[in-house]
């Protein structure tokens, strides 16, 4: 028996199994999941995109980068000492949202009480029962546009 072939016998399982497991775990598995997900759950699989007037404007899960005074703003453009972990936190606390109400009211003329009511109606709790109540900024702003289309010309 030649040394070369005996060495191959020894290392063959290692090398063959490495390649095979890469093909199964690294390609077959994620591609299969992608196929099923795209077929069965395309909305989520593509990133839960929000639509406004028929066009995709972003994802509910990603900060939409609002900067205009007439909208609720996310927490991610403020200074790094208050930044979220992801940098794209789509939510702000209700308290933070309420603190923005005067600015939005001034910019749009919408009554403060209406804005407060809107914030309250879009309030979320972590796992419904705990944590600090928060709102999804994109969801809230889209609701704002839908409720007061006249205040947001050109958006709807």
């Amino acid at each position: 028996m030649s040394t070369r072939s005996s060495r191959w016998t020894k290392y063959r399982p290692v090398i063959a199994l490495s390649i095979l497991s890469m093909l199964v775990c690294g390609l077959a598995y994620p591609l299969l999941i992608t196929g099923i997900a795209q077929a069965a759950l395309p909305y989520q699989a593509d990133g839960s995109q929000a639509r406004l007037g028929g066009r995709a404007v972003g994802s509910y899960y990603i900060d939409n980068g609002f900067t205009l005074p007439g909208f609720f703003h996310g927490r991610n453009e403020t200074n790094p000492l208050t930044a979220s972990a992801s940098g794209v936190d789509p939510d702000i606390t209700v308290a933070e949202a309420l603190s923005q109400v005067p600015r939005i009211s001034n910019a749009t003329g919408i009554a403060r009480s209406s804005l407060v009511a809107l914030v309250t109606s879009h309030e979320h709790w972590t796992l419904w029962v705990t944590g600090t109540p928060y709102v999804n900024v994109l969801e809230l702003n889209l609701a704002l546009i839908a409720a007061y289309p006249s205040s947001y010309p050109g958006y709807a």
Partner: protein, 555 residues
């Protein structure tokens, strides 16, 4: 302190992992012992084809040396494949963003990191890795390193089992763990995650115009398939740099709870398989009480202090409670994924994280958690067992001087692997390469660097530094620490298990290890021998920060 509802949530999560673990365990035992299952008709022909293809005789059995060499060879070969993919991703397919290949030191660090089930990341996946790399390098190694963990555990258990003659066949264990445990579980978990909002696509990043008209890229990709194995396999390396704080990895509190649950699922299940595999059902008890008892202590330490509110490094949807809970669980299971920035966690939470990483068995990483707990059991039995007036035995086998020697060498791995490079990082001023590092207070700076190496040695992977540590020093040093921290204990413990084969077993053990009494002594001994040993360094790091009145580690 946490309130009643939050306490209830913690209890509910732990209870559900315990219940699922106990329910899943009988199936896992069947897989690991080769007992027929319903999946046989589907998988047997496939597996036989695999064995034929790779040229391995599934009936062959291995001694501890053969098993160990097979483990190391296979893992190194897989790391080599992944290395080639990462370095060459620029010319490989499925790279819609056109990312270039990784530098050799970063690629080296990354493959060792994923090949050792650590998943320390000195890069941000969304800006560095192609879809192809995320799948064929990252997800691939996440599966194989997790499977390896289960294999070495079952091999060790075979050695400890009275009357055993060999450690089994690594190739068979490896294939069966993949096809019958990890792949099916991950497929289900991935699809659930997609349904709950985690993207799964290879169509490229989506560019949109935001409401205000700015251009925004939605960084979608094959995320769900990665998150499932990252959590189930206690890997922890995320698709994104921000890991599970990034909403696409963990969009809602529901996915958050699910992902916490997945981290604990298999480590807990494997604890439940132990008694069955060893042939003495009650021997599960000390492992279970030890793991979950220490986990309870970890949680108490973390939740004793004030929990951060929504603030720096904390995602609004999770808040301080879920961020701290995740941090405790991710280190206790040595997973290393994060749903917040570590810098946002309070010092006692970080202290708790250190405890989880130092013990590595609460319940620890997939497979290796049980291994480490068995190591603690052996040394505890030896030290306290003498007090029954007999040479201590575990599972009927007398603990010899050689066993003690092996365990003591394994004990030395952590202090050496953590402290030597930490010291080197400061002594060589390698830390100065980290942006903004020199302005940090000593407690924070020390906490961060010590954490880097503790996390590496414990094959955890969470870190403060992240891509900031993408320097040749940290890439090389952590790679060495991860490799040593993974394979040296595995080698020692397989040697220990191998030496138990054919050893005379006494009819009745003097010290009963299957009761609550021993379990509590075990907890005390682990705290004494493992956690207390590192007290000086914990004092210089998180405890100092705590006494200095810091609420987090943000700059």
């Amino acid at each position: 302190m946490i309130d009643a509802i939050q306490s209830l949530i913690v209890v509910a999560i732990l209870a559900s992992t315990l219940i699922s673990g106990s329910l899943l365990a009988p199936y896992v035992v069947r897989v690991l012992t080769g007992t027929p299952t319903r999946l046989d008709r589907l998988l047997d022909p496939f597996e036989s084809a695999v064995y034929r293809l790779i040229g391995a005789d599934p009936k062959m059995t291995m001694g501890w040396r053969e098993y160990l060499f097979a483990v190391i060879f296979l893992n190194v070969a897989q790391m080599a494949i992944a290395f080639a993919i990462l370095v060459g991703q620029g010319v490989l397919p499925l790279n819609p963003q056109g990312f270039p290949g990784l530098s050799w030191d970063l690629a080296f660090n990354t493959v060792v990191s994923f090949g050792t089930n650590t998943n320390l990341q000195h890069y941000a996946g969304e800006t560095a890795l192609s879809y192809f790399s995320q799948m064929t390098a990252i997800q691939f190694l996440q599966f194989t390193s997790a499977a390896t963990g289960v294999c070495v555990m079952v091999a060790m258990v075979r050695g400890l089992r009275p009357g055993s003659a060999h450690l089994g066949n690594f190739y068979v264990d490896f294939v069966r763990v993949l096809t019958r445990i990890l792949l099916p579980l991950c497929a289900v978990a991935a699809l659930v995650l997609v349904a709950l909002g985690v993207p799964q696509t290879i169509g490229g990043y989506v560019t949109v115009k935001t409401v205000e008209g700015a251009t925004q890229e939605l960084l979608v990709g094959p995320v769900a398939s990665l998150v499932s194995i990252m959590q189930i396999g206690t890997n922890g390396g995320g698709y994104f740099g921000a890991n599970s704080a990034y909403p696409f990895q963990n969009p809602t509190p529901v996915t958050d709870v699910l992902e916490i649950y997945l981290m604990l699922l298999l480590p807990t299940t494997l604890i439940f398989t132990f008694g069955e595999l060893i042939g003495k059902k009650k021997e599960t008890r000390p492992i279970l009480i030890g793991s979950y008892g220490l986990l309870a202590i970890d949680l108490a330490v973390a939740f004793l202090g004030s929990i951060p509110a929504v603030g720096p490094g904390i995602e609004t949807r999770f808040g301080g409670f879920f961020s701290t809970l995740w941090t405790v669980i991710t280190t206790a299971s040595t997973t290393g994924s994060l749903n917040a920035s570590l810098a946002g966690i309070n010092p006692l939470g970080i202290l708790s994280a250190y405890m989880g990483m130092l013990v590595q068995a609460t319940p620890g990483g997939i497979g290796v958690g049980v291994m480490y707990m068995l190591m603690y059991v052996v040394i505890t039995v030896f030290v306290v067992g003498l007090m029954t007036g007999r040479t201590p035995e575990y599972l009927g086998a007398k603990i010899t001087a050689r066993d003690v020697k092996l365990v003591m060498v394994a004990f030395l791995v952590h202090p050496i692997a953590i402290l030597v490079p930490t010291l080197a990082a400061f002594a060589t001023k390698a830390v100065d390469a980290i942006p903004g590092f020199s302005s940090l207070p000593t407690s924070v700076a020390f906490t961060q660097v010590l954490y880097e190496f503790t996390s590496s040695a414990a094959n955890n992977g969470s870190d403060f530094l992240g891509a900031a540590a993408n320097t040749p020093f940290f890439n090389f040093a952590t790679a060495v620490v991860m490799f040593v921290g993974r394979f040296v204990p595995i080698a020692i413990l397989l040697a220990l298990a191998g030496s138990m084969i054919g050893r005379k077993r006494v009819a009745e053990q003097s010290l009963r290890t299957d009761g609550a009494a021993f379990s509590f002594v075990l907890i005390g001994s682990i705290l004494l021998l493992v956690v207390l040993t590192f007290l000086p360094f914990l004092i210089l790091g998180p405890l100092l920060a705590y006494f200095q009145g810091l609420v987090n580690f943000v700059g």
